[in-house]
């Protein structure tokens, strides 16, 4: 901070002094083992992480609020290094703060009871996403509270080294200019600016991650857990609401350090990379389940399939029957939404043949019998995960600029030349377009406000505005507010949507 606030005078200096004192006190509390503090301060000599795991520390939000750093901080316009009001935003609006409360409310208690899972504070299968499971041997700071839900520590990294280094006056200046990769590898501060890493972290809960014990089983759904919705990292980050600044909103000095180019379509880039990572994570989840299922001769957990393939009203004039079904009718498809954006992105890069062939391979394995052939599905999903990882790297290495950016918009609209497969797939395109338009607006390009209004509004039926805010009831399923749940996904009618879409696209011209 000293770099940026040298012109601020005496009072600022005094504040800093007090803050420094407070932080030292705070660090004394944090660093319980001898020697650790010394290491934190010795920024330039930090040991590489290779081989030696960084010491774990689970802290609560109080640690981040102390000394006025991330709560009730002074918000200047434009903000300086960070907003300073991260916790105010988080506590007032962010549903992640309610994650644990969801387990102790009526619905949460009912679910635990139906699943015979005991008390919320010991239900590790739930806590993996609704708060955090602390490993044996890890240090728990006194500020840590399960009740904070998915708090700061979950995303930013449960390691004491970065917490100390980034806040102590004597070390922070040196810390700040370190590359993000080093901050993560040597200090344990998760590199959330890397779109791939951020998305993988979000997707571990919003899609699932078998290795981390994060998976909403069909039994959990049946016990009342609301259905997981299709996930899109850029628009979901924005709607949290965001407690950070985009690079384009940061001070020039920071932009320079981060190598930010002001003509880049920043959010769209995140959306593209994120979509490939989300696909990769969903395929890895499928592959690991398929592996277990094929070894044990069991069926795959139904939670891996498209919920609305079964959970839909039956009827003779169902639009489902007029769809071009890639397999036999009556065979249960996987969720199709994760493929929508990466498939489109691949087109943007050039070819699309490889992914089409891989998709067919997975479809054949899935439709060969009801609920699929796990062995073949494992092989196919591993291949797609591999492909998605590679394509995420291509998206990340080719910045969307004034040349390639505008192409994205037209490719996104092209997806809708054919009716979407389902509600979640249509939503992926919807969110991607919102993200794209947000970049357009920031870059000073003209955007059609009527079209945006249609897309975001009730009329499109896409429900693109997430039910954000503290204390909000589940968006879907048991306990949902019936008024909010007025466009349930199984009622989504692709033909109806296409009709409205055509009307608005023509009106917009």
């Amino acid at each position: 901070m000293s770099t940026y606030s040298s012109n601020r005078g005496f009072w600022r200096g005094l504040t800093l002094g007090v803050a420094f004192f407070g932080l030292t006190l705070f660090l004394n509390l944090l660093t319980l083992r001898p020697g650790v503090r010394g290491e934190s301060i010795a920024v330039s000599k930090a040991e590489p992480a290779a081989g030696k795991p960084l010491p774990k520390l689970y802290f609560g939000s109080k640690a981040c609020a102390s000394a006025g750093c991330h709560e009730k901080g002074q918000v200047t316009d434009p903000p300086l290094l960070c907003r300073g009001d991260e916790l105010d935003r988080f506590k007032a609006h962010d549903r992640h703060a309610d994650a644990y409360n969801a387990m102790t409310g009526k619905l949460g208690r009912d679910i635990l009871k139906r699943l015979n899972m005991g008390e919320p504070q010991t239900a590790t299968d739930c806590l993996a996403c609704h708060s955090v499971n602390i490993e044996k041997g890890a240090t728990k700071h006194e500020s840590f509270q399960l009740e904070e839900g998915v708090g700061c520590v979950v995303c930013h990294g449960a390691h004491e080294r970065w917490v100390g280094s980034h806040s102590l006056v004597i070390s922070r200046s040196a810390f700040r200019i370190l590359p993000r990769e080093t901050k993560e590898s040597d200090y344990g501060m998760t590199d959330l600016w890397d779109p791939a890493k951020r998305t993988a972290l979000c997707a571990s809960c919003h899609v699932g991650n078998q290795e981390q014990g994060k998976f909403v089983t069909h039994d959990m759904y049946a016990a009342g857990h609301p259905p997981l919705q299709g996930f899109e990292v850029a628009s979901w980050s924005n709607q949290m609401p965001r407690h950070w600044q985009l690079l384009r909103e940061k001070p020039k000095v920071v932009q320079k350090i981060q190598g930010h180019n002001s003509s880049v379509w920043e959010e769209s880039q995140l959306m593209l990379v994120g979509s490939a990572i989300t696909l990769r994570e969903s395929m890895r989840l499928l592959a690991s389940h398929a592996k277990t299922a094929s070894i044990n001769g069991e069926m795959l957990d139904w939670a891996l399939f498209d919920c609305y393939a079964c959970h839909h009203p039956l009827g003779p004039r169902s639009w489902r029957q007029n769809q071009t079904h890639p397999g036999k009718p009556g065979r249960v498809p996987l969720k199709t939404w994760p493929m929508v954006l990466p498939g489109m992105g691949e087109k943007l890069l050039g070819s699309k043949e490889e992914v089409d062939q891989l998709t067919r391979e997975l479809e054949n394995a899935t439709y060969s019998r009801p609920f699929g052939d796990p062995k073949k599905m494992q092989l196919a999903s591993e291949k797609i995960a591999h492909w998605a990882d590679a394509i995420a790297k291509s998206f990340a290495s080719q910045p969307l600029d004034q040349k390639t950016g505008p192409k994205l918009g037209s490719e996104l609209l092209k997806i809708w030349q054919a009716p979407p497969r389902d509600f979640d797939s249509a939503r992926q395109t919807g969110w991607a377009l919102l993200t794209y338009h947000s970049d357009e607006a920031a870059l000073g390009r003209n955007i059609n406000k009527e079209w945006l209004k249609f897309l975001e509004g009730y009329e499109s039926g896409l429900d693109l505005k997430l039910k954000t805010g503290r204390g909000v009831r589940p968006a879907r399923g048991e306990g949902a507010n019936p008024k909010q749940d007025d466009s349930p996904p199984d009622q989504f009618h692709p033909d109806g949507f296409m009709g409205k879409l055509k009307f608005y696209l023509q009106e917009g011209k």
Binding site: D219, A222, K328
Partner: protein
């Protein structure tokens, strides 16, 4: 005199013309009834053979003797069975099922369709329909009464009446007056059989699911070409007996089909049509905690295969201890939904064989006290969580009570006055479980609140006190 001569001559001429015509229609009429049927396979002669106005085409009210053909052709849905295959809907359905384009799929040539929509024999195809038999007739006389080549000319002779049911069957004649035989005639199509299988693939392609129950199907069969009063005159317990026979034979057919599905490696597995539709097909919006499934499939709820049978089921007296254990294992394997198809196949085969001679020793109609005991036992098993109530099971219970009620009415016995009202109300609850009332056969009773069961059972228990 000349006039009289002319009349006689004319009559002779007419009768010879008539017999010449008849010989065209009927295959080689034999003056005497042969002692047994000829060794050649019987074949189809077509509904036209029955349609002489003096025989079955009197065009009287439905149910009157002699108007069987005219009733069937005018109002029996079976007569439309074939023509629906020519519809756009059928063509699309088959195209979806086969994964073909719509113009290359032809339901009127597809043995899978023809074997129920024309004649219940999957080995027949369009090419094997012979002579006067026309596929366009739909499910006509011989589909139920048997291929008629050997009995058509015999069955109107006096001596035919002296033959026993078994003797008639040697001519290929099906004795549909026997309730067990009649039910066996219906199940190949209405439950399904080898290669006549309405499985989940076909249902997903657009075919209505099969949900057969003999007593209620007959009760709702308004275009019956026989008289209900004759049935009751023949057997005063008809309304009860048709229900018990239906229960046993339908379950047997369901087991045979399951064993075929399990053993036939080329058929889909798991076969999803074996399960309760509403266990999966329900909306996820709003509250769905009242569904009985809790994330599991419900197996055999319609065909009485779901492990714990309600006390009223006539199958209780037919399954021995070993069979009941096997039924439990079958249910467990089916609910587990894994790759246990061969085990399921052999268990189902074993269980089906146990029902081979089941219907001859079924208990007579119950007393009100007995029905009350059943109802109370059923309610207890729901309370003790042994039976999970669901639409299928509750509808079967409703049908049992209807059969009991109808039987009491047939005998002009006194019935509890509230029972009829309560049955009507339960019927409303069961019907309103469907999303819409139109085309309800295609929908799932997803809105049924399984908590209703106990309320109804308590009411019926009181009514029967």
């Amino acid at each position: 005199m000349g006039r009289l001569f002319g009349l006689i001559l004319g009559l002779i001429g007419l009768s010879s013309l008539c017999s010449a015509l008849c010989s065209q229609i009927l295959p080689s009429p034999k003056p005497d009834l042969p002692s047994s049927a000829s060794p050649t396979e019987p074949y189809l002669v077509g509904a036209g053979s029955c349609s002489a106005s003096g025989c079955h085409n009197a065009n009287g009210h439905s149910g009157t003797k002699g108007s069987e053909y005219s009733t069937w052709i005018a109002s029996d849905p079976h007569a439309q069975a074939s023509s629906v295959l020519g519809s756009d809907r059928s063509q699309k359905m088959l195209a979806r099922y086969l994964g073909k384009s719509a113009n290359t799929a032809d339901p009127q040539k597809e043995p899978l369709c023809l074997s129920c929509h024309v004649f219940p024999d999957p080995t027949l195809n369009q090419g094997s329909y012979t002579g006067r038999f026309s596929a366009a007739d739909g499910v006509s006389c011989e589909a139920c009464h048997g291929k008629a080549s050997q009995w058509v000319s015999a069955h109107y002779q006096e001596s035919w009446k002296t033959l026993s049911s078994a003797e008639k069957s040697k001519f290929g004649f099906v004795d549909t007056k026997n309730l067990a035989i009649r039910t066996r005639t219906c199940v190949p199509c209405h439950v399904g059989e080898k290669e006549m299988d309405v499985n989940h693939d076909l249902i997903a392609a657009g075919h209505p699911r099969l949900r057969f129950e003999m007593g209620s199907f007959l009760a709702n069969y308004s275009s019956r070409h026989w008289r209900q009063t004759d049935e009751i005159a023949r057997d005063p317990n008809h309304s009860w007996n048709i229900w018990t026979r239906g229960q046993v034979i339908t379950t047997k057919a369901a087991l045979e089909l399951l064993s075929y599905r399990g053993n036939q490696k080329t058929k889909p597995w798991p076969e999803l049509s074996e399960y309760n539709c509403a266990a999966c097909h329900h909306s996820l919006s709003g509250f769905y905690g009242n569904l009985p499934s809790h994330g599991k499939m419900l197996f055999g709820t319609w065909s009485n295969l779901s492990g714990n049978l309600p006390a009223y089921s006539p199958l209780n007296s037919l399954w021995d201890k070993k069979a009941k254990e096997d039924l439990g294992s079958l249910t467990r394997l089916m609910v587990k939904i894994g790759s246990h198809r061969a085990e399921v196949g052999s268990l189902a085969e074993k269980l089906a064989k146990k029902l081979d001679h089941g219907t001859s020793h079924l208990a007579p109609p119950p007393s009100p006290k007995e029905v009350r005991t059943w109802i109370e036992a059923y309610e207890r098993s729901i309370k003790e969580n042994k039976i999970k109530p669901n639409w299928d099971q509750d509808t079967q219970t409703y049908i049992m009570l209807r059969a009991y009620f109808q039987h009491a009415r047939d005998l002009k016995k006194e019935v509890p006055p509230n029972l009829e009202n309560h049955l009507g109300e339960l019927q409303d609850d069961l019907t309103s479980a469907f999303q819409t009332n139109t085309n309800s056969i295609l929908h799932s009773p997803e809105n049924y609140d399984s908590k209703l069961s106990r309320k109804w059972l308590q009411k019926f228990g009181e009514d029967l006190r």
